[in-house]
């Protein structure tokens, strides 16, 4: 049956069900079980925000608290994946990828290619991403474009609990390295989720709202802000189609292009910094593949090219807002 759960609960449920389904699934990361500073009882922490809490009680030693060395345990997870396990490693904040990037992009992403297809690397690296949590410049970044730049990695960034559960199950069952990015500002967001296991294929965008006037393509937290902008614009008779890309590698360009062929106008919204972003990537693809369909220049709404500010007032200005998205749509309509 279906009931409402939060995105945080959806992550936990997907991990739990995949561990039940497949004994080779293991979970590892910093403080995901007891944690180094915890009072000592098992399962005290369940990760910094408690996402994995309860799993140790059910699955015991298939969950491992690792030393505070991303390079060591991400490397171990990628190595274990080549030897028969399906590890899910939690990188805590995606901002920490710098210390284990060689393991991700030079090892995990390359094995299948360099060993002539004889090696598979079914590893999932989960990490929190995104701004709005008052967590400052080193814990708030949206680094999706860094990963989409690297061939051999699959990159997922869901916006709701339903997609989170199905895409995480798909990530675990997939035979390639998957970077699974969870926007920490959405952990409490609830939606209807079946109790049963299910998967959502990669490379399939979701059309959250159909419209004829303009297309907004986005992912993660800004999906909700784009829907809010669309609702505001609908009152003025502007009928916006909102596309949640859901997976960024592979990316569903077909759905975006099909939509632009109908609307003739595109706004790309991205919480990442603007240069070489998902927004610029989608914009370039549409400009190349569907130039004839465009009635106006493509608009991009992104974070500015700055670190994420710690000042709450500035952080709120940093993330694309519903008002900013609505303004960009109006600009395409006026052109």
């Amino acid at each position: 049956m279906t009931r409402k759960i939060s995105m945080k609960e959806a992550v936990n449920e997907a991990l739990d069900q995949e561990m039940q389904r497949d004994p080779t699934v293991v979970v590892m990361g910093e403080d995901i079980v007891g944690g180094t500073g915890s009072p000592g009882e098992d399962d005290a922490w369940g990760g910094v925000l408690g996402v994995t809490k309860g799993l140790y009680a059910k699955h015991g030693d298939r969950l491992m608290d690792t030393p505070l060395s991303e390079s060591a345990y991400i490397g171990a997870a990628i190595g274990a994946a080549t030897c028969g396990l399906r590890p899910v490693a939690e990188l805590m904040f995606v901002d920490f990828m710098g210390v284990c990037l060689d393991e991700i992009f030079n090892q995990g992403a390359k094995f299948r290619y360099m060993f002539g297809g004889k090696v598979e690397t079914p590893v999932v690296i989960r990490a929190m991403c995104g701004a709005g949590f008052r967590a400052a410049a080193q814990h708030s970044q949206m680094l999706t474009p860094v990963f989409t730049h690297i061939p051999g990695l699959k990159v997922v960034c869901p916006s709701n609990a339903y997609d989170t559960k199905g895409l995480l199950a798909q990530s675990i069952r997939d035979n390639d390295p998957v970077i699974f990015l969870e926007h920490k500002n959405l952990y409490a967001h609830e939606s209807d989720v079946p109790e049963e296991s299910y998967t959502i294929p990669f490379g399939e965008a979701a059309v959250l709202r159909e419209g004829k006037s303009a297309t907004v393509a986005t992912y993660g937290q800004t999906v909700h802000r784009s829907v809010e902008a669309a609702e505001t614009l609908a009152k003025d008779g502007v009928d916006v189609e909102v596309i949640d890309l859901r997976t960024l590698s592979p990316i569903d360009n077909d759905t975006v292009i099909e939509s632009v062929e109908k609307t003739g106008r595109l706004v790309c919204v991205d919480e990442a910094n603007p240069r070489c972003s998902i927004a610029s990537d989608v914009s370039a693809t549409v400009a190349q593949e569907a130039f004839g369909a465009l009635k106006a220049p493509i608009q991009m709404v992104t974070a500015p090219h700055t670190p994420v500010p710690f000042s709450p007032a500035l952080e709120d200005l940093y993330i694309p807002t519903a008002d900013g998205i609505a303004d960009a749509v109006r600009k395409t309509m006026a052109a």
């Binding site: 049956m1 199905g166 049963e196 296991s197 299910y198 399939e204 979701a206 059309v207």
Partner: protein
């Protein structure tokens, strides 16, 4: 004079409907409307459909605009005889208060119920409190929401139950026993909910299952209504069945689902998305494969029960969409002695495409049984 004014309001189709978009008016001010006439098209998240007039009369005012969204029970139009003045209609429209939902009723009637049966946990919906039991049984790949335009209308004349068969909707996703297992599950459901003998309305595969239950356990089945039903002949569109099982994306599923309707515009994005969500649950494709192999193996229906049903003497109503692309309309003639109703201009889903007509036919039939 205001007692002569009859409001036309936004209908409520199914429990989840909060609002609808009026896409087009089919009648204009000054037209005389017959009850049952299609007066406008409304789109909801789930489906687009024509709205049939509940009352007849002279359409004096189109209050609602095309392409606008209105909440359920909002005033869309006004019927009134010529004697009522425009000023009186103005006053009526200005003073119209949306009737509130019967809160007590909504609290007492949860959207869906679940019951443990030997076939696993099954979901069902229940409406109405008095009269004979009526059980609505969906077809292959369907669920109880296939009856969203029927369940409330039929509840005026009986206790109505709509079930999700095993492997379908939100019921248990095991369907090991194929079609026989579904018959046992339906039988187990009537026991678990303690329905007693009931009238069964079966759509497509649900018709075959209801017929098999009637033959196996005649005491449970007071009458059979077949809606574009399986079980009455050998032919079946196996391209549809196989395509439904194989489809993995919107692009693959949409053309398959369009086979179901004469009016392809009824297939909304939400309908396809909901079906994909269902198909992507672990176990569903296996369950559908098992059911299909036992019911439609080799592209032929395995159970042809028309003659047995005739001999059983059980009262039968057959309703069929003339343009059915899944099971040929000729099967409607298979049960000798049955009351047969062919509905023109609709496909395999007359309970959705011509809901008002189907509801009337079933009510009249059950009144006469």
């Amino acid at each position: 004079m205001s007692e002569q004014i009859i409001p036309i309001v936004m209908p409520k189709w199914g429990l989840s409907m909060q609002e609808g978009r009026l896409s087009v008016w089919h009648v204009k001010e000054g037209d005389v409307i017959e009850p049952g006439q299609e007066i406008m098209d409304v789109e909801t998240e789930k489906i687009a459909n024509a709205v049939e007039a509940a009352d007849g009369g002279l359409l004096r005012r189109r209050v609602a605009q095309e392409d606008m969204v209105y909440p359920v029970r909002a005033l869309l139009g006004v019927l009134a005889p010529v004697e009522v003045s425009d000023a009186e209609i103005d006053v009526y429209v200005a003073g119209f208060e949306m009737p509130q939902a019967d809160e007590e009723e909504e609290e007492q009637a949860p959207a869906y119920l679940f019951v443990e049966t030997p076939a696993g946990r099954l979901r069902y919906a229940e409406r109405g409190s008095e009269g004979d039991a009526i059980v609505l049984v969906h077809g292959f790949g369907g669920d109880l929401d296939n009856w969203l335009f029927n369940i409330d209308a039929l509840a005026a004349g009986g206790r109505v139950y709509a079930i999700d068969l095993p492997g379908h909707g939100q019921s248990a996703k095991t369907a090991d026993g194929g079609i026989v297992g579904l018959v046992d599950a339906l039988s187990g459901f009537t026991d678990a909910v303690d329905i007693g003998a009931a009238h069964f309305v079966g759509h497509s595969l649900g018709g075959a299952i209801s017929a098999m239950l009637a033959l196996k356990d005649p005491g449970k089945v007071k009458s059979l209504t077949f809606v574009d039903a399986a079980g009455l002949g050998e032919e079946i569109n196996s391209t549809y069945i196989d395509g439904f099982i194989a489809a993995e994306s919107r692009r693959e599923l949409k053309p398959v689902i369009e086979h179901l309707f004469a009016d392809k515009a009824l297939v909304s994005r939400q309908m396809i998305d909901d079906l994909l969500k269902y198909k992507r649950l672990d176990g569903v494709d296996e369950a559908l494969g098992s059911i299909s192999a036992s019911a439609f193996g080799g592209g032929v229906q395995s159970a042809v029960l028309a003659d047995q049903i005739t001999r059983s003497g059980i009262p039968v109503l057959v309703i069929w969409g003339e343009d059915d692309a899944i099971i040929p309309v000729s099967h409607a003639e298979a049960v000798a002695g049955a009351k047969i109703e062919i509905i023109v201009g609709v496909g395999h889903m007359p309970q959705m495409e011509a809901a008002g007509q189907v509801n009337d036919l079933i009510r009249d039939f059950l009144d006469a049984v």
